[in-house]
Symmetry: C2
Subunit: 221 residues, 2 copies
């Protein structure tokens, strides 16, 4: 059985390879895991020997199917645990990430299945992140963000892509949660600003960078 260190490496490779074009660099990986690059190199060579990853020296690393299976299972645990903490224990959605980071390594498949049932088999976690299925299928969908969508269109927030407590608290305080409806009234690229209007007629500004972390879909109906 992989140690929780190994599980963390594999999970972060999976997460980073969603954004990166498949090969994850040692630099990215090391900084995601808060270790020095040399440590990541050493570890990746060990993981390659054990068949979890393929290492292209000096290029980057990618998951094998064995590695992907482990990574998806850990990610599923992470996101179901977050959902449990928010939906059942009513915890602050900004703080559950850190909790799930530990619990994801301690929960058995048996417990997880029962949690899943208790929660009603949710498709996404409280941040809108998709929850991999028990069979390891990850519903990967491309959404526009508040930085890229059309202006003055009614939108619904579907996902917040950023785990830091600070950003999630900001989003919470401004009613920018998955499910909330709003529209982008204007954008000023040179200034790096976007102006949005939530349904309660409140208007506010935020940086384009921040706007890019909030994913939306056009409001149907």
């Amino acid at each position: 059985m992989p140690s929780s260190t190994v599980e963390n490496y594999l999970k972060h490779i999976l997460l980073l390879s969603e954004s990166a074009q498949d090969l994850v660099s040692m630099g990215e990986l090391a900084s995601a895991l808060a270790v020095v690059p040399g440590t990541a190199t050493t570890m990746i060579k060990a993981l390659a020997r054990e068949g979890y990853v393929a290492h292209q020296p000096r290029q980057g690393v990618s998951l094998t199917s064995a590695g992907r299976t482990v990574a998806l299972s850990v990610l599923r645990k992470h996101r179901l645990v977050e959902t449990f903490l928010v939906n059942v224990l009513k915890m602050d959605w900004a703080s559950v990430h850190a909790e799930a980071e530990k619990l994801e390594h301690a929960i058995s498949d048996e417990v997880l299945d029962r949690l899943d049932a208790l929660l009603g088999y949710p498709a996404t976690d409280p941040h809108g992140d998709p929850i991999p299925s028990r069979k390891g299928k990850l519903n990967f969908q491309v959404y526009a963000s508040l930085a890229t969508c059309a202006l003055k269109q009614p939108l619904r927030i579907v996902r917040i892509t950023e785990q830091t407590t600070e950003f999630l608290q900001f989003a919470d305080q401004n009613h920018l949660l998955p499910g909330s409806t709003l529209s982008v009234t204007s954008r000023n690229l040179p200034a790096g600003l976007a102006t949005i209007k939530t349904t309660g007629t409140r208007t506010q500004a935020m940086s384009i960078t921040a706007a890019g972390k909030i994913l939306v879909e056009p409001l149907r109906r």
Copy 2:
């Protein structure tokens, strides 16, 4: 923060010093933790240096108050987690011990408090083991067992002192759960046998050793 290894050492010292007369021997401790005695000695010397235990070389080890605080907190987590797994997730009471053994090291105080509230602040876990309070008070009560109580008296089971899956399954199948009522009809010490009668008029035999693991109180009312 103590590692989960340290937490396990401290928790097991606490549990063993309930039965043993305060000083826990390296042999007992090592076998409880499934390590060789030399490992326990080495570890205990380190824990003594860090102020968690007092080590009387060649005699045994006991907890300092710092060590006892940690041990009680871990034990509280263990027992509340077991209660959650049985009461909320409806898991088999015989299997939850192994799950809790891992989760006890991954759960934060914040999550624990919310679990406690969700469960209605239980005083004991599914096996009847007392749950230490948030302030670290452990309700230590001395009960008679089926091996020591008076014969032909109506009794209520209050606790099963044995964590192994096999014993718990045996107890479950024979309706010997905390709360069940029964009486001991006879005892044959030379043969090492006790005969008990559960309220459903079922009569059965068990060894005195097994009977000693089932704690009871006289039935009032």
